[in-house]
Amino acid sequence: MNVSLGFVLSKIFTYSLVHDMLAASVPIVLACMCAVISRQVNIINIAAEGIIMFGCFFGVMVSYFTGSWLLAVLVSVLLGVLISAIMAVAYLKYEVNIFVLGLCINMIGTACTRFLLQVIFKTSGNFVSEKVVPIPRINLPFLSDSPVLSSIFSGYTVTEILVIPLVILLWFMLYKSVWGLQLRSVGLNEMASYTSGIDVNRKKLVALLLSGAFAGLAGAHLSLGYSCMFIENMSGGRGYMGMAAMQFGAANPIWAALGCLLFGFSNSVANRLTPYGIPNQFVTMIPYVATILILAISVISQKIRSTRQESSLRKS
């Protein structure tokens, strides 16, 4: 038993796990940025899950019919913006509860893509085709001599590479720019922002539209970059994992993105465990157990920190 456990572990924890972990993290990072931006204007936006499903399906569909991955990604992003715009009108103008709206989008996302799969591709469950053009991968030929370096640094899709500057840009815009200061102030104190002459609803609208764009991108990447197919329910809770990572990083894009790596790690370990006779139900559970653990840890540590800070026994 011991020998076989050691064998399994040696098969799982290899250098190629780094690549797998990073790749598995990227869709969650994109979903997480959706949660981060809306959280910064004090909106708990749970719709990432549903928007990702739309992004996945339309990414595959546009790529299939046009043969252009770039067009497919653009359509998915715009679709994310459009769905967010509908939510924004309902939430900001007609004051519909944002949680109910998000729930609706998520339910429609699952059901509608399943329906479209049957109508357009006359199939159910999943759709694979050679005509679907994936997002290209960038290989670094000068690393090909070293399998380790090549595995870690080479062979990422365009979107995977793009994610790093995107997160840094978002952080910079939130914390160093006029736009970000005003956006964050809306989330922290709406009245103070309004009396400072800031158009509060406009800021919220922009934040929602941007978060939709990120979720749409997450969807297109999931079906055209991370994989090259459409599967029903393929978002698999990544939208929610992104929210958990947002919580973990206290809505700071960089910390939140680092939190996503933990999910990427648990996802890829789970994938590698499957062939070793561990019950499938248990393996698929791992990312969700990780979600609960990460949330619990971040909430507890934040609580401990604030209790310590608020204590009257602490010397100031």
């Binding site: 815009m173 160093k176 720019s177 006029v178 736009w179 200061l181 005003q182 964050r184 102030s185 922290l188 104190n189 009245m191 103070a192 922002s193 309004y194 009396t195 400072s196 002459g197 800031i198 158009d199 209790t307 608020e310 204590s311 009257s312 026994l313 100031s316």
Partner: protein
Amino acid sequence: MEKIVEMNNIHKQFPFVKAVDGSRFDLYKGEIHSLIGENGAGKSTMMKILYGMYEIDEGEIIVNGERVTDGRYTTHDAIAHGIGMVHQEFMLVKEMTVLENIILGSEPTKKGSRNVVIDFDAARKKISHYIENYQMAVQMDKKVMNISVGEMQRVEIIKALYRGADILILDEPTAVLTPQEADKLFEILDIMRRDGKTIVFISHKLKEVMKISDRISVMRASKYITTVNKSETSIPELATLMVGREVFLNLERTPAKEGEVMLDVRDIYVPSERELSKIRGISFQVRKGEVLGVAGVDGNGQSELGEAVAGLRRIERGKVFLDGVDITNRSPLKIRRQGFAHIPEDRNDRGLNKKHTFAENMLAAEIRDRPYSRFGILHTKKIMEEARARSERFDIRPRNPENLAGSLSGGNAQKIVVARELGASGKKFLLAAQPTRGIDIGNIEGIREMINDAKAEGVAVLLISADLDEILSLSDRIIVLYEGRITGELVNDGNVNEEELGLLMIGGGKND
């Protein structure tokens, strides 16, 4: 002199009240114009309208000769017209720094960054100009949550000036200051007037109004009454104009009895989100049949003290006894069962459920007991009978207990809270936190009498109030809180000096 603001025939309706009813107001360049009236008279609403925070239902506003109400008029437009406002409830983002708060919405940007990247150095430079010019010290890098209330007010004033305000509206600015700090503020306002700024001073403290105004406008019950020149009026005349009758806020205080100790607070430590509000070791006793007043500038731990005693905030060290029973960190329900009555400091947030009826609110604390319910089923008839009886006894208007609590005026809503807390039998101790904040003079008189009556019947009262007049009119003894510690204790024998109290309130106590 040049007229720079004119507001004519302004109407504004809120869900339950007509806040402004055909009122008017005007401003001449370079004057200090006071707008006085009772709480709820519509002063703040009128000025929030001028600042673009509320849309008006009817009327016109003319600023610098331009009819701004022809189109949509927002706060953004008001700022562009050189209007700045310091609100009674400060409009600051407490998680952000003083610097960020001041520049918010008018951020200077770095050259060549296409108005994207904030230029904090340029902002600092511009702000230090105001700090020096008006001698208003602020710590630019501290988070707002960690500065004192007086400093927050200076931040608000600088914020308005930074936006280029020529017209500065101050809504009850002295309510959060000690007498000395208020004098300092008046000096600053005087310098601003000399610099050509125009100032609107909203207040109901007539002494201060007479001290600094050029002209005074009076509002009563949502209506404009009149405008007078300072030189042609007097405090009694203003008081009559403001209330519509002569005012006597002279309560006949019942002398304290030498009763046994009812509340015993022993060296407690209480946490707070704000550094200056943490309670750091305080002890005192309240005896049967006396009122102990807690004075101090808001934010020095008064709220934390009240919440700790009431079981709403954790006590980290020390003990609290009520009539000999240890109530430290007990649940509010258990504490109430010991005969603890509580008028919470925020009527809208904690005191009342505005969406429930008057009767439901009034009996909320007793509704689980007979005769108001049996086996969990409400006995509506008994509830209504008792609510009606108490509305007579505590003079709550209108009398109909089926009205929603939210439809009552501030004063009458607060009386529901008092009736709930003091109407039940067996109360030994009353914690009254800011019991008359934001209510009209008639009801202030009524509520102060109720508190005095409760004391006369032998209830021990802990009165927490930022209003010095209230502390002096009700208390038998006074303790002063400053940064979570007691800086002094005085016996209120009728010779207490306000200056001395003011000194204790800014930490200059005998104990130092």
